[in-house]
Amino acid sequence: MTGAAALPRRNGELVFEAPWQGRAFGMALTVVERLGLPWAEFQRRLIDEIAAHPDAAYWDSWLAALERLVIDWRLLSGEELERARRGSG
């Protein structure tokens, strides 16, 4: 992945400030599609996260909503996620 300065800026500014944000965005779209869910299933979790943590950074809320979605729909267990975080942190 090339540096931020190399990203195309057809819209005049960076779409994602860091690559992980783009990954989180792509994951949400992919998971929703794989599960055959309406986007509203992710969106309402994003709304809940933002309401619960209004001062949190936007993409942090996004990631938390995505984690919530995959756990609620049993794609992963909370334990698996926790173990993986410890392994890669």
């Binding site: 819209n11 779409v15 992980w20 990954r23 965005f25 792509g26 992919t30 986007w39 993986a84 890669s88």
Partner: protein, 197 residues
Amino acid sequence: MSDGHHHPAPISPVEARARALEELLAEKGIVHPDALDAVVTAYERDIGPMNGAQVVVRAWVDPEYKRRLLADGTAAIAELGFGGPEGEHMVVVENTATVHNVVVCTLCSCYPWPVLGLPPTWYKSPAYRARMVREPRVLLREMGLDLPEQVEIRVWDSSAEVRYLVLPEAPPGAERLGEEELASRVSRDAMIGTARL
């Protein structure tokens, strides 16, 4: 004192969480890294306000298209080949000399991706989301758009299913200019409603 090795900066906790999630989902075959790359590229490069600008300009030069656009935004936008996630229920709202439209999502960040791409950071901020419904004229002025009192401001909250696109007023002499020239004048912010052209 350098030991000659490059030590990459430690990644943030949130980035570590994102990576862990992607690894797990990839292991289970739910996401594929190449497909994720393609989604990211699409939204960084191909899907953005240049799409909405084409829609706006078509409406400026073709009154029949404009009529269809205002009657059924989704269908008219699809005529130009744009559609997809977050564009399934499009409503286009027209600015006039006496009416100015502006769009917000008070609860999160809902935004018409197929025509505008992903929203800018300020659109997602708590301040914008709360203040645009409460004090639109003041906030717009702070953002550089000073509207006279006699211009009615209509604020559209995207929190439900509908996604809004503002159709800015055509510049004088638009009918004499080519669509490409006109499109270059249509800013993203004018299609959100935080600017006029």
